[in-house]
Structure formats: C-alpha cells, structure tokens
C-alpha cells in the first residue's frame, strides 16, 4: 500500500504507455508526445500553484478565473509587445491572489469559500474587462509562443519546464518552501515557532494566481484568441486531481512537485488514450472522476496508517 501511494502514479503511466504501444496506432511517436505535452501545459502550470496551496492545507478554485482574466487583459496591452502584456496579465492575476490571500490569511475565511467567491467574481471581472467579447490575437511574438519550438521543444513546454524547476527549487531548497509545509502541517505550531504565517499564506495564494495567469497567457497564445468566457473552465478540478494523484495529500504539510508533473501527465495520457480509441468525451470525464476517487482513497489509506 505504501508503495502504491508513492509510486502508483508512475506505475499507471508506464502501464498506460505499454497499453498504447500495443493497441493504439501512432501513439508512440515524437509528434504525438509533443502534442500531448503542449496540451497538458496549462493544467500543469495551474497544478503547480495548486500543489503549493494544498501544501498549506488550502485549496484554490479560482485558477480558471485567473486564466480568463489574464486572457482578457492581454489584448488591451498587446500593442506594447508580449512582455508588457504578459506582465499586466500576471499583475491582474496576482490581484485575485491578493484577494484570496487576504480573506484566508487575515480574515480567516475558509480557503474553499474564499476562492469559490473569486472563481465566480474573477470570471465576471474578466468578462467586464473584455467587454464580453472574444478577440483574436495577431501579435506574432505571442503566436510564436503558442506555436514555435526551439530545438524541437515547444516554447510553451519550455515555459512549463522552467516553472517546474523553479517551484521544485522553491519547495525543496528555500526557507519559504520549508515554512510553507510547516504551516500546512500545523498552523498553530508554526505560529508559535514565530513563523510569519499570514505572510506565508498570502504569498502562496499570490504565487498560485501568478502561475494560473501564466497558464492563461500560454493558453491564449496557443488558441490565438482571447476567450475569457470559457478559458480554463473547471481546470481547477483537473489541477487538484493532478496534485492529489501525484502524492500531495489534501490534508497539507507536503508538496510533491515531480509527482504533480506525473499526475498531470497521467491525466493527459488517459484523455488521449480515450480520444484516440474513440471513446466519447462523457466517458472520459467519468474516467477522470473514477481516478480522483481511487487517488483520494489511496491517500486516505496513508492517513489511516499514520
């Protein structure tokens, strides 16, 4: 059981690859993997932020709304170039993070309630900012972020790889990372040890929002259009699933970055397998639900053993 908790997600990935190698035509190919990686980038980036938040024993349902807001902001500033537009999009996303963090850390609202409020309000704001319009994006730099590669690695995947590395470093090697899991393990004990608990929570929610904003930028670049009404809809749920099957417990106190990547990859592979074998979308959603249940069940086993 302990073995399954730690390596289950990797075993599942290997099994799925073996299945596809045997039964799905054209699955094991460089092109297909490139496509799969590109498609999983937004979920992965949101999941990285989610892993941090869950590590503090929290949850963030506003990731999709932040993506939408970022998407809505880009057309407003893209005239100045990609960098300024991206900066503004991330800044706007961070404001939602600040709202989340302030409610949770300072007022003491439960994370699920606070971020649910921002999930609804955030998308509303995005629609207001975008004037409820879908806008196509034509700036060549941003389009190239979505479409081009460097030595065979798509830019968007490169962004994701860098962010994974940064978050892994943050979690494993920095004071902040250690403090974050300490807060998730026991908030009271962390407070009594003199940790700046409120600041840590605030920072975590801002980081999660900033990451979601980056996901929104990458997704917009790939679509070639700003679609605030639907972009990132329910992506939080996929992100949470990826985090949990990656071995980060919902009870907090632990963050598994590599596991989160594996979790996102597994979700992507399952979706691709079902699509390539012509299974209808509805079934693929049901499959996802079943996976969440299994993952959470295995995690719960871990708690019971402790």
């Amino acid at each position: 059981m302990a073995y399954l908790q730690q390596y289950g997600v990797y075993i599942a990935i290997v099994l799925l690859l073996m299945y596809n190698a045997a039964f799905t035509s054209n699955f094991i190919s460089v092109d297909n993997f490139r496509t799969q990686f590109i498609q999983m980038v937004p979920v992965l980036i949101v999941a990285l932020g989610m892993a941090l938040v869950i590590g503090t024993q929290g949850i963030d349902l506003s990731g999709g709304a932040v993506m939408a807001l970022a998407a809505a902001v880009i057309p407003l500033y893209i005239g100045y170039g990609l960098i300024p537009a991206a900066a503004m999009a991330i800044f706007a996303g961070c404001l939602i993070g600040v709202a989340n963090g302030a409610m949770i850390a300072f007022i003491g609202v439960q994370p699920i309630v606070a971020t649910l409020a921002l999930m609804v309000a955030g998308r509303g704001i995005a629609l207001v900012v975008a004037n409820e319009q879908l806008k196509s994006v034509t700036n060549p730099t941003i389009l190239s972020l979505g479409r081009n590669s460097i030595v065979g690695v798509p830019y968007s995947v490169l962004v994701a790889v860098i962010l994974v590395a940064v978050v892994a470093l943050l979690v494993n090697r920095t004071t902040f990372g250690k403090q974050l899991v300490a807060v998730g393990g026991s908030r009271r004990a962390a407070e009594l040890a003199g940790l700046p608990v409120k600041r840590i929570l605030m920072t975590t929610y801002i980081l999660a929002a900033a990451l979601a904003a980056v996901a929104g930028i990458v997704a917009t670049a790939r679509l070639g259009a700003s679609v605030p009404s639907t972009l990132g809809n329910l992506i939080e749920l996929s992100a949470i699933t990826a985090v949990v099957i990656g071995g980060t417990p919902l009870t907090g106190g632990k963050v598994k970055v590599v596991g989160t990547v594996a979790g996102a990859l597994l979700l992507q592979l399952i979706a691709a397998t079902l699509i390539k074998n012509n299974v209808p979308d509805a079934y693929s959603q049901i499959t996802q639900a079943v996976i969440i249940l299994i993952a959470v069940y295995i995690q719960r086993g871990k708690l019971a053993v402790r």
Binding site: T174, T175, G185, S186, A193, G194, R306
Partner: protein
C-alpha cells in the same frame, strides 16, 4: 500464587506472547511477553522509546503485530482495529489525547454510543444528562456542552478518562495519563482507579513518575529497547533497582547518578533580563509583574486556572495583553507578537506538544531548525550543512533516539518528541527561556539530563521561567517561586521558603497543618 484480588494467578485477562513489531529501520517490540491478570494493576515501565506505547497499540488493535499472538481471557484473538478491542472490554487512554476537538464533552464521552430518540436521532438532552451524571460521579466539574478543544489539556485528559471508564471494561489501559494533570486532578484519577480496581477491572499504567507507580500499581513489567526484561511484584523491587533495570545499568551506577539532577539553585544579583509590568488580560491574568535575572531559574507555581500558562503566553507574545508590557534588556517587546518576542530572545516551550509544538509531517531536522531557519539560510536558500551542524549537536546533547535526523518526528516516542521541541528552542540561542512542563513524558534518565541542561543553561546566563505541575520539580529546580492564584501573583517564595510544604500551602492559599506523606 494469588493476586491481590484473590483470583488464581494463572487466570489471565489479557496476554501477549512473543509479540514483535517492526517499523522501517527499527524493531520497536522484539518478542515481547506480557501478562495481565484480572484485578491486577500493572505498571509498564521503560525509557523513552522503549516500546511502551507501541505495545499498548498492539494490545488494542491500533497496530497489527508482525509476529506473536494475543490472548483474551485465555483464548487467542486478534484485534483488526481499536473498536474490536473496545468491544472486547479493553478501554484505552492513549498518550496523546485523541478525542474529537470540535465535538462537545458529552458527545466525545459517548461517541458511537449516543442515546437515540424515537426518530433514531441523537437525543442530546439525554446525552448531556448522562454525561453530567457520569462526570459528577467522579467529581469532574465541566460544562458538558462545551467543545472539547476549549478545555485545558488536563481537563481533556479527564474527559478521555471518563470516556474510558464509561465503557464496560475489563481492562483499562492508561498511557501517561497524569502527564498533563494537576495535583488535584491526579488525586481524582487515583480515586477513579481505586473504584475500578474495586470492581475487579485490570489496569495497565504507564508513567515516568515513580511515586505514582508505587502508589497505584502492584506489579511491573519493564521494557528495554523493545524487549521485556523484567516482570514481577513492585513490593519486592526497590526504586533504584527498578530504575537500574530500566536503564540497563548497575544499581551502584544508578545510585551514584542521583535521580533528580538539579544542582543548587541560585539567585542572581545582575540587572534583570526580563521585566514584565502589570500584565493584564480580562478573565485570564491581572496585574502580573515579575523580573527575571540572568542565570536565574524561577518557578511559576499555581493550580490549574491560576494563570500560569497564560502568564508564559503573555510573556512569549502568544497571548495579547490588554494592559502592561514586557521588556527584555530594557527594550520594549511588541505586545502579542510571537516573532517580536523571539527576536527579543524570549522563547517558549508550549504545554501541548501535539497541537502547538511538533509539526508531525516534517523530519526531526526540519522540526529542530524550524524557528532558526532564516538564520541558517543563505539568501533565502536553506543550507543543509548549517542545519546539520546544529541538529547533530542537539540530537547528541539531548540523546534523541531516532534512526536519523531525517526520520519523521511523528514516528518518535512521546519523550523524544519533547526533546526535539527543546532542541528547537535552544537552537535559537535565547536570552529568556519559558518552559511549560519541560519534562513532561520524559523518562527518569532523560529527565535528569533535561534538568541538568536547564541548570547548565542558567549557568550560561539564560533567564529561565519554569512551570511544572510536579511540585517536587519546581521546588528542586527554582531558587525563587512565584505563586499565582486566580490570575494574579499571590506570593513569592525565596531561598529557604522554597520547600514543598510552603509551596503546597501557598498553592491552596491556606496553611497546611498535616504535612502530606511523600515517599
């Protein structure tokens, strides 16, 4: 041979034969035999990490043994989960209170056995009434509707006890039940134990306090490094001998290393490190002023609810005060800020290790360096080398028993967790050390070490304030005792006045005419 209650010696109520339990990298129990007779009151003794709690968890279905078997009333049995053991009449109070914090006292007592009304819903009126009747029988006074987490730790322990005895039990197991109890509550506990024994209920009692063991128990089983090394009657076993069996040292050696290690307590004439003036918080403490000098160990005496822990919390910035202030080295410390207090050099070892101290999911190393982390980091990045330099020193100095510093702190025995907490604060190089029950749950050997350490730290110039519900410890350790009652300073005992007799009479607020018999 006949047990004190007159049942034949060979009738057993609970037995373990050849029980082995391994955890990753450690054999916590190694082929342990354990026998409990009806009506027997058995002390389970051993150093921190000897395997006492693990044995209890095996006996009550929390852990499954890797080898060996259990017998209940003579027949082989297995407990797949704690509930099975409970249904078979084994009732347990675990070392760390494990009730449900948000439920009320009454709900906790009758959890899973609530009275129902005719709709099948919980009959709260009946529930509360039953709880009150039960608690009244044992003279425990508490509002049964209050959520458990609002009670002091000692009171929570009493609720756990009430729950344990309210289950029709043949065996009641108590893992360090008195470590968070007040002298008065300990008396209540002993009275309850007396009642249980009169009903022929067998008792397993774990404690590091020798006085209690000799008072409550008639036989003893000693574990050392996971093996049972001695079983027998307590009456045949002088204290030193028991300790020497526990520690695995010769009697002579044990005698030489006296059991409490506080040296001569001194006062100091230097300028005070810490000055608190008129600390007041509504309903908690009022007008508390005190001065602590470098090198001084000051005891804070008082009964439960006298404001001892609250005073420490006010000093440590954990509790905001309405009025009054704290100065360290002449500088004002910001009210109600833990981090400001820590920066000023005031650190506090909290009373409730489980809820306020350890971070269970982190390693020993991460727990020790937690507060000192910013100091041990370079530009926000952690430095393993710097951490290890500190961690290794304290693991050795405090003799923390673990497979390595990377082991999860939740896997340590209770006493070793306490040492990790002490290490966390010593790593901060504090100027003022506030200790709330510093030796709680620590075995005799380690206790002497911690007490010696407190002395050593005082010699190095620390100002130390200590709260302990063990009168003996307060008296031996402190040069000065400030006695609190109802949230304010009642009196102060200095020099010759620091005796158990004086302290006890100051605690209750009246002179004690008959000296208590203390073994």
């Amino acid at each position: 041979m006949i047990t004190p209650t007159g049942t034949p010696r060979d009738a057993t109520v609970l037995e373990a034969r050849g029980v082995t339990k391994r955890f990753a990298g450690i054999t916590a129990l190694d082929n342990v035999d354990f026998t409990l007779h009806p009506g027997e009151s058995l002390a389970l003794m051993g150093e921190n990490g000897a395997g006492k709690s693990t044995l209890i968890k095996v006996l009550t279905g929390v852990y499954q043994p890797d080898a060996g078997e259990l017998h209940l009333g003579g027949t082989t049995t297995t407990f797949a989960r704690p509930l099975d053991a409970q249904r078979s009449g084994i009732s347990t109070i675990y070392q760390e209170v494990n009730l449900i914090p948000l439920l009320s006292v009454a709900q906790n007592i009758f959890l899973g056995r609530e009275p129902r009304d005719r709709w099948g819903l919980i009959d709260f009126k009946q529930l509360n009434e039953n709880a009150r009747t039960l608690l009244d029988t044992y003279d425990i006074h508490v509002n049964v509707r209050r959520p458990l987490h609002r009670l002091a730790l000692g009171m929570q322990q009493m609720v756990a006890l009430a729950r344990a005895v309210s289950i029709d039990a043949r065996v009641v197991i108590m893992d360090e039940p008195t470590s968070s109890l007040e002298a008065r509550e300990v008396e209540t506990l002993f009275r309850v134990i007396g009642l249980l024994r009169a009903q022929g209920i067998a008792i397993v009692y774990v404690s590091h306090r020798m006085d209690e063991i000799y008072r409550v128990c008639d036989s003893v089983t000693v574990l050392r490094d996971g093996k049972s090394v001695h079983s027998g009657l307590l009456a045949d076993l002088p204290r030193v001998e028991l300790v020497s069996i526990m520690l695995g040292r010769s009697v002579e050696k044990t005698k030489r290393e006296s059991l409490t290690a506080f040296g001569s307590a001194r006062t100091s004439s230097q300028a005070p490190t810490l000055i608190a003036t008129d600390l007041t918080r509504k309903h908690q403490i009022s007008g508390i002023s005190l001065e602590i000098r470098p090198g001084e160990v000051v005891g804070l005496g008082g009964l439960l609810g006298s404001g001892r822990s609250e005073t420490l919390k006010a000093l440590a910035g954990v509790m905001k005060v309405d009025n009054g202030h704290v100065r360290v080295g002449g500088r004002l410390v910001k009210n109600g800020s833990v981090s400001a207090a820590i920066r000023a050099g005031i650190v506090m070892l909290p009373e409730d290790r489980k809820a306020e101290g350890i971070i269970p999911n982190l390693s020993i190393r991460d727990n020790i360096v937690l507060a000192a982390l910013p100091r041990l980091s370079v530009g926000g990045f952690t430095s393993r080398a710097r951490q290890d330099a500190i961690v290794d020193v304290f693991m050795k100095r405090l003799r923390i028993k673990a497979t390595s510093s990377s082991q999860l702190v939740s896997e340590l025995s209770g006493g070793n967790q306490q040492k990790v907490m002490i290490a966390r604060w010593l790593a901060m190089n504090p100027r003022v050390l506030l200790l709330d029950e510093p030796t709680r749950g620590i075995d005799v050997g380690a206790k002497a070490e911690v007490q010696a350490l407190i002395n050593e730290l005082a010699d190095e110039g620390l100002a130390i304030v200590m709260v302990s519900s063990e009168v003996e410890e307060v008296v031996e350790g402190s040069a000065r005792v400030i006695v609190l009652r109802d949230g304010s300073v009642e009196t102060e005992l200095i020099g010759d006045e620091v005796t158990e007799h004086h302290l006890l009479s100051a605690l209750v607020g009246e002179p004690i005419t008959v000296t208590k018999e203390l073994p």
